[in-house]
Symmetry: C2
Subunit: 201 residues, 2 copies
DNA sequence: CTAGAAACAGTCCAAGCGTACGGTATCTCT
DNA sequence: AGAGATACCGTACGCTTGGACTGTTTCTAG
C-alpha cells in the first residue's frame, strides 16, 4: 500500500533501475557498437552509481546477456504491434514484406546484430544468445503466419526467403545508410514473392 | 639485383612483414572478433616485435583499414578462382548459387563482417570501408556476370536477390554454425531463381 | 524500530595503446 | 667498392582506461 509518490516498493525500485540500465546498454550498443561499449558508459548513461550496476549485473557479460534479452523482447513487441496495425484489406503478401522490412531495417535490429556478432566469438554470450534466438524466431514466425493466415505452414519457404532477402538487403545497405538503387528492390521482391507463391502451389 | 637467398630488398622485407601482420590481424578478427582484437595479439601472432607493427601501422585503426583491404582482396581473389573452376557444362544459374554460397559462408566473409560491423560505429574505419565496399561489389558483380554471360545486366535483379538471400541465410545460421533445416533451402532457391528468371522475361 | 535490500561513492589492478630510443640491415652516391 | 644516408627491427616505458571490489548511506518491509 504505497500510494505516496516517491514511495515505491523494492521490486519497483529494482525494476526501474534495471530498465534504465538495459535501455542505456542498448543505446550504447547502437551508437558506439559492441567494441566501444563499456560498463562505465552504460552506468553514466543510466545515471546511477558505479556499484549500482555491479549490484544488478556482477559482470559485463551478464549485462550483455540481459541486454540481449531486452532487445529481443523489444523486437518481438514492436513486431506484434506493427502486425496488428496492418489493415485487413491490404494484400497479405505485400503486408508481409512491409512488416518484415520495418523490423529488419529498424534500429533494434542493428542493436541485435551487434550482440549477435559479439556472440559469435564469445562463448558465454553465445550460449545465451542461442536460446534467445530460438525464442525470437519462434515468436516472429507466429506473427508472420498470423499475417498470412498460414497455420499449415505452406508458405514457410517463401517466408524464409523473404526474411533472408530483406536481412541481406539491410546488411548490405548498412554502411551507406541509404538503400540507394536498392530501394525499388522492395517492390520488385513483392512481385517475385507473388510469383514464387503461385509457382509452388 | 639481390639473388642471394636470405638477401632481400627493402621493399621485399617490408612486404612480407606487412603480409604477416595483415594475415595475423585477419585470423585474430575471425577467431576473437573485433572487440577482442588487440594490437598486442596481432603482433604476437605475426611473430614480430612491438615497434615493428607500429612502424607499419602507427595506429590501430590504420591496421584495421589495411586489414579490411587485405580481406576484401582475399574475397575477390577466392571468388575469381572459384568462378574459374566452374565446369562449362554446369547449369549457369545453379553455378551462380553455389558460387555465391561458397563466398558468403566462407571464413573470409565473417572476417569481413566483423570489420563491417565495426565500421558502422567507427567514423574513420567507416569511410575507408565504404570505398572498399564499392570496389568489392564492383568486382563481384563482374565475376557473377561472367558466370551468367550477362553483360547486358538483364539478370541484375535476380542476382541481387540471390546475393541477399544467401547473405541472410549465412547470417541467420551464423551462431548455430549449422544450417539445420535451412540446408535444403539452397536447392529450393535454385528452383525459385529459375522461376524468377523465366517470369521476368 | 530494526533487519535487509537497494543505491551511492571512491579505489585497485590489469591491460591496451601510443612514444622514445638504441641497434642493425639495406640502398645509393661517388 | 666504400661510406654515409635511409629504412627497418627490437626493447622498455608511461599514460589512460576498463573492469571488478569494498565500505557507507538511504530506503523499504515486517
Amino acid at each position: 500500500m504505497t500510494a505516496k509518490p516517491g514511495r515505491r516498493t523494492q521490486e519497483e525500485r529494482r525494476a526501474t533501475t534495471r530498465a534504465k540500465l538495459l535501455e542505456a546498454a542498448a543505446a550504447c550498443l547502437l551508437e558506439r557498437g559492441y567494441a566501444a561499449t563499456t560498463v562505465s558508459e552504460v552506468q553514466e548513461r543510466a545515471g546511477v552509481a558505479r556499484g549500482t550496476l555491479l549490484h544488478h549485473f556482477p559482470t559485463k557479460v551478464e549485462l550483455m546477456v540481459a541486454a540481449t534479452e531486452h532487445v529481443v523482447d523489444q523486437r518481438v513487441e514492436q513486431f506484434r504491434l506493427a502486425a496488428a496495425e496492418i489493415p485487413a484489406d491490404e494484400d497479405r503478401l505485400d503486408a508481409l514484406v512491409d512488416l518484415a522490412w520495418r523490423d529488419l531495417s529498424s534500429p533494434v535490429f542493428f542493436t541485435a546484430m551487434e550482440l549477435w556478432m559479439a556472440a559469435r566469438t564469445d562463448a558465454e554470450l553465445r550460449s545465451a544468445v542461442l536460446v534467445l534466438e530460438e525464442r525470437l524466431f519462434q515468436r516472429m514466425r507466429e506473427s508472420y503466419a498470423s499475417v498470412l493466415d498460414d497455420q499449415a505452414g505452406d508458405l514457410a519457404v517463401p517466408l524464409e526467403f523473404t526474411i533472408d532477402v530483406l536481412t541481406g538487403l539491410s546488411i548490405t545497405a548498412m554502411l551507406s545508410g541509404k538503400l540507394g538503387p536498392r530501394q525499388p528492390l522492395l517492390d520488385k521482391w513483392k512481385q517475385a514473392l507473388r510469383l514464387l507463391v503461385e509457382g509452388q502451389s
